[in-house]
Assembly symmetry: C2
Homo-oligomer: 113 residues x 2
């Protein structure tokens, strides 16, 4: 299931870059034009466009064009599968801790401690 | 801050692969030997070793060697920075929604609606 989830890989890959994360943080504040997003990065526009394409492919942003102006907006719910996956891992881990605790309690009881 | 956090990039990069995620899920259950981790993946041992190196570099697992047997264990708290970053994004986004709502309420009030 999770093992073969290509969307989750796309999602984590999109987040695995500091420039892309800073763009997302900016877009969480407000939608923005591509040129405005590029400015604080100090990167050339084609490089920023490639980062935006990765974010869009992962479903984290949408872009729309009005004449020559392209605007980007965040898709906040797109990050949820990543959060869900991490929650699942935590639940497995906590289940293991619970079983370990239960085991220790049983052993202590058997020993009359 | 977040923009220049190389650890966060390492972390998300490590999670951006289905094989590595499946290894983490397995290790959340219990520590395991490298050969046992390799078996269900159907991958060659050197390939699995490379995946394990990526997970270890990101701090998500630790490995230890006893004679010729290498065992891997998960570091469950290592995923927290990723979760914190996602929480921060959600907080920024929800702050924006709150401001939008407040603005709409103000406009409606001014219009006497």
């Amino acid at each position: 299931m999770t093992k073969h989830d290509p969307d989750l890989s796309l999602l984590f890959h999109a987040l695995a870059d500091a420039t892309r994360r800073s763009i997302l943080t900016r877009l969480a504040e407000t939608p923005a034009r591509v040129t405005d997003l590029a400015e604080p990065t100090g990167l050339r526009l084609p490089t920023v466009m490639r980062h935006l394409a990765v974010l869009e492919e992962a479903g984290l942003i949408t872009t729309s064009k009005d004449g020559r102006i392209r605007t980007c907006a965040i898709v906040p719910e797109a990050m949820e599968p990543a959060r869900t996956w991490m929650d699942e891992q935590r639940a497995i881990w906590e289940g293991r801790l619970d079983r370990l605790n239960a085991y220790v309690m049983t052993v202590m009881k058997e020993r009359g401690e």
